[in-house]
Symmetry: C2
Subunit: 262 residues, 2 copies
DNA sequence: CTCCTCAACTCGTACATACGTGTACTACAG
DNA sequence: CTGTAGTACACGTATGTACGAGTTGAGGAG
């Protein structure tokens, strides 16, 4: 399988470092499709033989590819070309009421629409003291408490996003928000039933390398950054009613926003 | 001079790899502020002595920090704690007409307002055949041509963003858009003078690791991802009038958007 | 046929050594 | 005082060796 792979020899004249040349060869093989997603990259021993260099040199080359997010190393198995999950496009109207009223959670509906198998796990609901940041965004006093709903989203079994919502306890108490299944239309529907008519959301987006926990939770390959998105939901009277803190695998998402020119 | 730095010894019991322990120590020193921005991390030789380990082990540790974006190595000088440029917050109303009418380019005004010294360089203007992607976004026929304006934005001399705008040649020809200084209010003002009233913008955002050229252009430290943002400007009749392809250093930006709930 | 053991192969970690190349400071010559 | 050569030091690249640990599959025991 895939043994049509033939890597060029080193260019003895080039002043490009040997390990970079090797990385270039493998990268080009991937880009040309000679190595497809999921294919095994030749083992370190094989590459040592082919190029006639030391193992450290090969490892440096593989390190480059890994930090570019092109490959993953699996201990005891080999190095493989990364496979990319289907990309989710988040449009700026994704929280429009017309979508919310269909009853299905946005994530489920969207993913099924795109032909993927959505799932949600690790749902945890607790009542806690809000962090300083959350308290400020929700405009809460020092004694207020919030209900936190954390969960993880997966597409075709591959985790793509973790999210934690914070809702003022005063709003969430006694509603289905406290249940793992928050009911038709999700927590936003429950919040509106409480008399808060949703008006607008504000999203703040950062991009950075993931923390250790995030690498684990999202099964991220080395070299893949994450979107860190904090969304605050406001009711028509200006009251913030929810803060949602989400971390998304950057190669599973394209974010899309519409801005007025007015 | 920062010589209060004392690193702990290795934990011989821990099953955490030695190089990771060392990386942890240095990371904590940075987080505690014992190593401030711009400070020199002890040299590889010093660390070898302190921990009594081989150089490869030290280099592995430093590699970890570098790929986390915490440090930069400078050949012949040493390893330094990365300094972060001031963060720019891009709000979703940044292209509102009221800002545009003040005459100053958005980037200059914003940066000065935040106390930074803005500059723009590498301005290049050419007329080219659009790429397939740009042609599609601009809704152009196979023979149409576009004017491309590329430039690089810097804050306090540090590059933070590169941008290439594509404007249909038909619109740009004969206007100040063809000049390095596009005049008061920037190219959007020129486009409106041509009779296209701007209505809305659509931005698509990806996050990924930078390409080699981008690392150079933005002087990115290893391990720092970039935002890749493509903005399309539409006139009130729905005609797309500009596509702007920008790459931003992710640690210099926070993006902020407002979404309607309606 | 099934289960288990074990060998072979894989990547991970660590050691020791050598030489190249860029930087910065010092000392000396002019 | 100035300029330059030298030198010490820093990281970059590369070789070679050794052992650890996870995975896989073949082959033998039951």
């Amino acid at each position: 399988m895939a043994e049509s792979l033939t890597l060029p020899d080193l260019d003895p004249i080039s002043d490009r470092a040997v390990f970079r040349q090797i990385a270039d060869h493998i990268r080009e093989a991937i880009e040309r499709g000679q190595l497809a997603e999921g294919d095994k990259v030749p083992s370190e021993a094989t590459l040592m033989q082919h190029y006639g260099v030391a193992r450290m040199t090969i490892r440096n080359a593989l390190q480059v590819l890994q930090s570019e997010g092109l490959t993953v190393a699996e201990h005891g198995r080999g190095v493989f070309v990364r496979s990319h999950p289907p990309v989710r496009r988040l449009a700026s109207d994704r929280f429009a009421r017309r979508h919310r009223e269909q009853g299905k959670a946005a994530f489920i509906a969207e993913t099924e629409g795109a032909g993927g198998k959505p799932s949600v796990d690790s749902i945890q609901i607790t009542e806690v003291k809000p962090s300083a940041q959350v308290a400020e965004l929700l405009n809460l006093g020092p004694k207020a408490r919030v209900v936190s709903r954390s969960r993880r989203y997966l597409i075709n079994g591959q985790p793509v996003e973790t999210a934690i919502s914070y809702i003022p306890a005063e709003i969430a108490k006694g509603t289905q928000i406290m249940q793992p299944d928050s009911g038709p239309g999700g927590i936003y529907a429950r919040i509106e039933e409480k008399g808060y008519r949703l008006d607008r959301f504000v999203e703040e987006i950062k991009s950075r390398m993931p923390l250790r926990d995030e690498v684990r939770a999202l099964k991220l390959a080395p070299g893949v950054p994450v979107f860190h998105l904090v969304r605050t939901a406001y009711a028509t009277d200006g009251t913030p009613v929810e803060v949602c803190d989400t971390v998304m695998s950057s190669d599973a998402y394209v974010l899309s926003y519409e801005l007025p020119a007015r």
